[in-house]
Structures are given as C-alpha cells and as structure tokens.
C-alpha cells in the first residue's frame, strides 16, 4: 500500500498507546482516537451552492474501575484536553453501577484479515474536479428527460478517516478507510403532478464513482412515479428494491445484537437452532470483505473483525457480540464493537450484512408474481418499526405488479407486517447482490402476505 502523505499511522497509534499507558493500578483504559478530513460539494443550477472542507480529530476515553464504567471525549488531541477528558472519565466512573462483566478489550488471538479499505486517490483528487463531478451529474439528470424539473440535491462528498484503538490490556491497532459518493435527488413534473427520485454511487474515492448510474437511477425513479395514485388496501406480495431490502436486513441485524438479546429486548432471544426465516435465507455479517462499504480490519474496541453466520438456511445460528456482551453471555466476542465516532461509547452492531444470493434476477422474480408491489422507497422507519415487538409499518411508494408485469405507479400507502412474519414469508432472494453505501448489501427480496394500506 502506498504510504499517504497526510496520514501518519505511527503518531496516531503512539498517541493512543501512550494515553492507554496512563492507566492507574486497578484501572482499565480504552482510548479511541480518530482523525479525518471530509469534503462536501453541492451544486444548484450550474453553480456551486456550497463547498465545505474540514479536518476533525478527537479522542474518546473509557475508564473501568471496580466494575464501574465512565467515559469522556474531547474534540481535540492537545494534551490538556486529553488529560481533562481522562479526569472526567475517571470521575464519571465513580457513578456507574458495578458490573462484573465491565471491561475493555484484551487481545483475543484472532488475527485480522489483511484488508485496507482505502484508495490513495482520496487524498490527491483535486477539489475543482470534485466540483466538476457534481456539475456533470447535474447536467446528466437535467438532460435526461424533459419532465425532469430540477434537483433538490446534487452533491459530492468524501471522507478519509484513520483511527487507532489502544487498551491498557494490550490491544493496540490502527486502521483507515476512505469513501466517496455522489447523490442526486431529483424532481419530475408533468402538469400539476410532482414526483421525486434518488440515485447515487459510492466508492473508495472519486475515481471509482459511476455518475451515469446515479443519474439514471434518480431520473428513472422520479419519472416512473409520475401519475402515481393512492392504491386500494390489499394483501400483496412485496418485492423490495435492493436498497429497501438492505434497510430491512439492517433492522433484522439490530435484533441480533448480543446486547439486545441479553437485555431481553430481542425478538430472537433463546431461539438459536430454530427456523426464524424462510429456508432461502442465509445471513452473514462479514466486515472482512474488502468490497463491503463497512469493511474494516478492527472493530471499535480494537479486536479483529471476522465473518459470522447469523442465519443459515433459515435457522438462527447466533448473535453478534462486543467484549462486554460476550463476557456476559459466556462466549467469545465476534469483533462487533461499533462506535459513532470518538464521542460514542462502544456498543454492538453490524457493519457488513449480506444474504447469500438466489438464482433469479429481479425481472424474473416479478414475472412470477400475480398481485404485488415493487417497493421503491419507504419512510417513517424510526416511527413505524418497533424492533422489540417486531411491528412493521412504513410509508411507501412503488409500482403495482399485475400478472408478472410492472403496472401503475402508486403512492401514499403503507406496507405492514411484523419482522418475524416478513422473514418467514420471503419467497425469493435476487441474484443481484451489490455493495453500496451502508452496513448491508443491496439485494432484491420478495415476501408474501404484506398488508398494503391505502384507500
């Protein structure tokens, strides 16, 4: 791998290791340091609307003493601020409830797969070319169809982050990742009718983006919704577009977090070995796949990531664990500690969920459906899905499927079921698995017995 110019692996790792070494007797420390640079460009009607660029860095320190956990962060790496954060974390720890399982990570002997989800172009690609990409994307969507009235968002964004994790028990790791994306969110008009559609492309740097794909998806999604009406309520087969299926799998992934299971708020607690999904479903979490958007060598606690089979041919195999939940469950961690940046304490989460693909394309799956809906967008996931009870109800737009063909566009309806029934009711998995942005791979899914609520 080419050594980058602005990153300096040793200094960030040295920093984390040095601070972890400040642990007092009888105290465990875990130090997470992140440094990154990001750029965002937005254009509107041929002009740059916004251009922002920023460097950010910070440190999060966790202290565990006598089973009590405290945490504090600082948005700078200067010694005074770090010392203050450590003092705050120690003070905070005084007020936690003792927990015999509390603690930071110690080396667990699992070797990290040698991946580096980073493209050096992220640091050398010039800003004016990033602007040009965004302007080009806007020209592409505007020129695609006369019914495209403009865009609400045409944006280019990228980020480069390096991070180091060190614990007083000997964990000490450094990793980095880069990401770039373009997105288009466009408006189509036909008379009084207005519809919207989105498209994007993501990669490790600007040089790997597919503008045409982003433009075409946005335009097609908006245009095909023109004339959409509110449908009659019905029970249907729902075909989830790959991006929507990825969102659904993310919800399922959340219910398989060891922390949710241990705390009695997972639908799938005590169900290992049971059939929880259709036999076509094999669900794997694997952040060691370099092509996965969320690929990373180490987790948020500094342990190696590793592949974990969660559901095998419909049968539940196990859950995801960070160090705390693993100790408490009496099992090994799965390298699934995640953090929301340096300000967040580690929790359990997935980064790279994927289904084993099926045999058929989306088109072939639709051909076999008499009465259904192709779901193009969903809304209200945070308000209509309860991952504890499993209730699932979201607003949607899409295309009605009749006799194996795409029929009229529909809007202002909901699709409803429960997560449990949806998993069991999956009738087809597409052959179109693709890694886009996000923590789950995109893939077409069809599921039966979905309540479509409209008129």
């Amino acid at each position: 791998m080419p050594e980058s110019t602005t990153t300096s692996k040793p200094d960030l790792l040295d920093f984390a290791t040095r601070v972890a070494g400040w642990a007092n007797d009888g105290e465990q420390l875990d130090v997470y340091v992140a440094r990154g640079r990001d750029t965002e460009v937005r254009v509107y009607k041929g002009e740059i609307e916004q251009l922002s660029t920023a460097d950010a860095e910070g440190v999060g320190i966790r202290v565990v003493k006598d089973g009590r956990t405290g945490f504090a962060y600082a948005g700078t790496l200067d010694d005074d601020a770090v010392a203050e954060a450590l003092a705050d974390a120690r003070d905070n720890a005084e007020f936690g409830t003792p927990d015999e399982f509390a603690g930071v990570a110690s080396p667990d002997g699992v070797e990290a797969r040698d991946i580096d989800p980073y493209d050096p172009d992220i640091e050398s690609f010039p800003t004016d070319k990033k602007i040009e990409l965004a302007l080009e994307l806007e020209r592409m969507v505007n020129g695609a169809d006369e019914r495209i009235a403009g865009a609400r968002v045409i944006a280019y964004g990228d980020e480069f982050v390096e991070r180091a994790v060190a614990t007083s028990l000997g964990v000490s790791n450094w990793s980095r990742r880069s990401a770039a994306s373009v997105q288009a969110y466009v408006i189509a008009r036909d008379g009084d009718d207005t519809q919207t559609g989105g498209g994007y492309s993501a990669g490790r740097s600007a040089t790997t983006l597919d503008l045409e794909r982003a433009a075409n998806d946005a335009v097609e999604h908006a245009i095909r919704m023109l004339g959409a009406t509110k449908p009659k309520s019905a029970k249907v087969v729902a075909v989830l577009e790959p991006s929507i299926a990825a969102t659904f799998l993310g919800l399922v992934g959340g219910t398989l977090a060891g922390s949710a299971v241990l705390k009695g708020r997972s639908l799938f607690a005590d169900r290992v070995g049971e059939e929880v999904a259709a036999p076509a479903i094999t669900l794997i979490e694997d952040p060691t796949l370099p092509e996965a958007w969320g690929a990373t060598k180490f987790d948020g606690e500094g342990l190696a990531t590793r592949p974990v089979t969660l559901i095998d041919n419909g049968v539940l195999q196990g859950y995801l664990y960070d160090t705390y939940s693993a100790r408490r469950a009496g099992t090994a961690p799965t390298g699934s500690g995640v953090r929301g940046g340096f300000k967040g304490t580690p929790g359990v989460g997935h980064r790279a969920l994927r289904l084993v693909p099926g045999e058929r394309s989306q088109e072939e799956i639709i051909k076999g459906i008499d009465d259904g809906v192709l779901v193009q967008s969903v809304s209200g996931l945070h308000s209509g899905v309860n991952p504890v009870s499993g209730d699932f109800s979201v607003g949607a737009t899409g295309i009605r499927i009749r006799n194996g063909e795409l029929a009229e566009p529909i809007r202002e309806f909901t699709i409803g079921s429960t997560i449990q029934r949806m998993l069991k009711g999956i009738t087809a998995v597409g052959n179109d698995l693709e890694w886009m942005a996000g923590s789950s791979a995109h893939i077409t899914l069809a599921m039966s017995d979905i309540s479509l609520a409209g008129i």
């Binding site: 905070n92 919207t196 409209g454």
Partner: protein, 463 residues
Amino acid sequence: MIEEGVLQRVLGAALRSGGEWAEVFVEDRRSSTAVLDDGKVERVTSGRDRGAGIRVVVGETTGFAHTADLSEQGLRDAAEAAAAAARGGGGGTKTVALTRRHVEPAGRVEINPEDVAKRDKVALLLRANDAARAKSDAIRQVSGAYQDGRRRILVANSDGLLAEDDQIRTLFNVTAVATGDTGMQTGYKSIGVTKGFEVFKEVSVEELAEDAARQALVKLSARPAPSGEVTVVIPSGTGGVLFHEACGHGLEADLVQKETSVYRGKVGELVASPLVTLVDEPIEFEWGNYAIDDEGHPAQRSVLIQDGVLTDYMWDWLRARKEGREQSGNGRRQTYQHLPMVRMTNTSVSNGTEDPADIIRDTPSGVYIAALGGGQVNTATGDFVFGMNEAYLIENGEITEPLRTANLIGNGPEVLRNIDVLGNDWEIGRPGMCGKDGQSVPVGHGNPTLRVTKMTVGGTAGA
C-alpha cells in the same frame, strides 16, 4: 468567548481573500449524560466540543470551513480556506466594525446542571427504574437517559453583527419493555426543556416512568391496527408532529426556493381548514427555544398560516437575502461543523373552541392517538408519515381497544383541509429532535385536541 479584535481581523481576512460576506460562528458545548439499562447505571459520560465555523459568501456560492483551533491563527486559516472555497479572488483591505446585539437569554436557569452532583443525576435514573418495575411484574426491562447540555454561541458577521447566547437544555427519558403472551411491547416517555435541574422539582421522574410502564402494559393487549382510511383524533400536546411534517418542513424557505415544496407560490391562498392558525415561535422553557438563532438573529414569532390562509414561510439569512427581505430567526445548525439552514423552532397550532370530550363523543368510529411517534415528509409531493406510540380504536364515540404500533400516511395539504374540529385544550408537546439533510436540532410544538376526517393507517387488520 473570542476577543472582538480577533473577530474583526478574522472577518477582515475572509473578505480580503475575496468574500463578499463573511461570518464567524463560535460554539462551546458541554454535555453530561447518564444512561441506565438493565437495572444498572451503564455509563456516565461527558464531553466538550469547542470550535468555529466560518462561512464566506461570493455570489450564490457559500464557502465553509470549520476548526477546533480557536487561536487567531487557527481562525484565520479557516477563514482563508472558506474564502478560497467560495472561489474568491478579490483583494484590497477590508475592515469590519462589530456592534454587539444585546439579547436576553431564552430561558432563565435556576439550577445550572453543571453545578449538580453527578450522584444526583444518576439517582433520578435509579428512581425511574424502580418506579417502572414496581408497576407490574410484566415490566421486564427498563432503560433511561438523563442528559444536560450547555451550548454557548457567538456569531459575528461582516455586516457588523455581534451576538451571543447561552443555551441550557435538560432531557430525561424512560423506555419500559413489557413481556406477555403476545410478545414484547415498549412504552416511552420523555421530557425536555430549556431549563436547568429545577425541572425535576416540577416533574416527577417516577410518574414519567410509571407512565412509560403503563403504555407498554396497555400495548400487550393491543390488537393489530386497521389497514386503510379512518378518522383520526389526536389529543392536545401530542399532535405537533403532524403539523411539523404536514406543512412545517414545506414552509421552510430553502425548500420553497428550490421548488421542492407543495406550498411554493401559495402565499395568500387557503391551504388548510379555516380553523387552523399555525405559528412558529419562541415559547419560554420549551425544548426548541433559543434567544438568537445560529446566525445571530433573535428568535421571533412567525405566523405561517392564519385562519387557513398561508401567510409566510420561515427564513434564514441566505434565503432572505435572495428575496431581499428580513430573515425570521430560523437559521439553525447542529454544531459549528455544520452550515445553517432553515429550521423550525416551536410550531404551534392555536387553540380551538370545542370541549375535547365532545370531539370524541361526536366521532362514530376512528382511531385515537394518545401518543404520536416521529414522522417524515417528502416536501415535494407533500406525502408524510408519522407513528403512533399509543393508540386506541374509537367506537360509537368511545375510546375502546388499544392498537399495535403503525405509521399513518397522508398528504399534507389534504390533511390540513380535512381538520374539521379543534379543542379548547391547547397544551405544549414533548421534546423532539428534527432531522434534515443530516443535521439534527431540538424542536418543540404545541396543539389542542384535533380531528382529521380521513387518514390512512398502516396496520395489518381490515379497516
């Protein structure tokens, strides 16, 4: 927070590097959080973020840079980066004279949370945990969070404006999980205010926890919600989400100017039932409150809809400048690392005249939503959803059986026209966090009991 001389020189540097207009936004934010879960105080955390965001405008282009380095050199570097981003060429000497704008802080804080012992904050969580669990053996899990935050901001711009604010917010929430033959259900209750720790003299965390537990228990016997169009009654103090989504976002001038709002070009037209008057305004101690927005403009009362007629949109500096009009104090940003945009403050529907009990009695069949969840809107089409955290069937004018969680969907302009009655029981709502383009800010709302003649409920049972 920063000396006036430094601010003047930094703004000068931004203009010298080609900016037509420049702004320095400085923020110093401290927060303290305690989280209880599974009977234990799981973590106590604190953090401090300090930094500045510098915005430079040239023509229609905004350049932006932010820095955690608040030294004069750090600020100047950011100013030059922002100006370069705005593609300035320019030159010459430019100076800025600053005039301090005096604004009274939005909330009077009696007990600064920074002065409260962490032990006392943690004790609230333990009390809430005990209270929720004492409610029933079926309450198998309780989690809760206490959070306080102090946000000091300073805004200086090249028009000479200099303004500061000191914002303190306190938040407390409880989630209870009940387990029964029908599986698990959750109950959630929260309070959030622009007040200090004195709020816990007025609000009982035990009552809040018991209410969360009650909600979870009620839902254990809930049946699937209907699937299809129904009449909806929403009680006071919970319906703000409906207006926030049905029209609030669509009245934000940035979306209107980009022709992505169904309310574009509708000022002066009837867009809602004549019963509806909607304002965005500062309400003392309310969660969304502030004295100045994040562009230094005082928060103000804006009438958006008067007796059903659209009167105005909400404005920030950039969009107001484009129209050559005054901004309305709605320019907000999540942190110094973000650019401001048009955001709501506290949105409120004015009081009606009917007795809420009569409204229910006059509803032959429908759904009563005792607690709404969050929502989401597509402002271009006007289609929006919101969730129901606690809901019941209305049968023959009476509230009957509880319903399971679902979203409701409707079209903003249609729903506003379909509001056929407002109660006389206006009440402030629960705290909300509003997300837009990746930025989250606290918002508040208030409403009286109201009825919508027709909305689609996204349940699984036949309507």
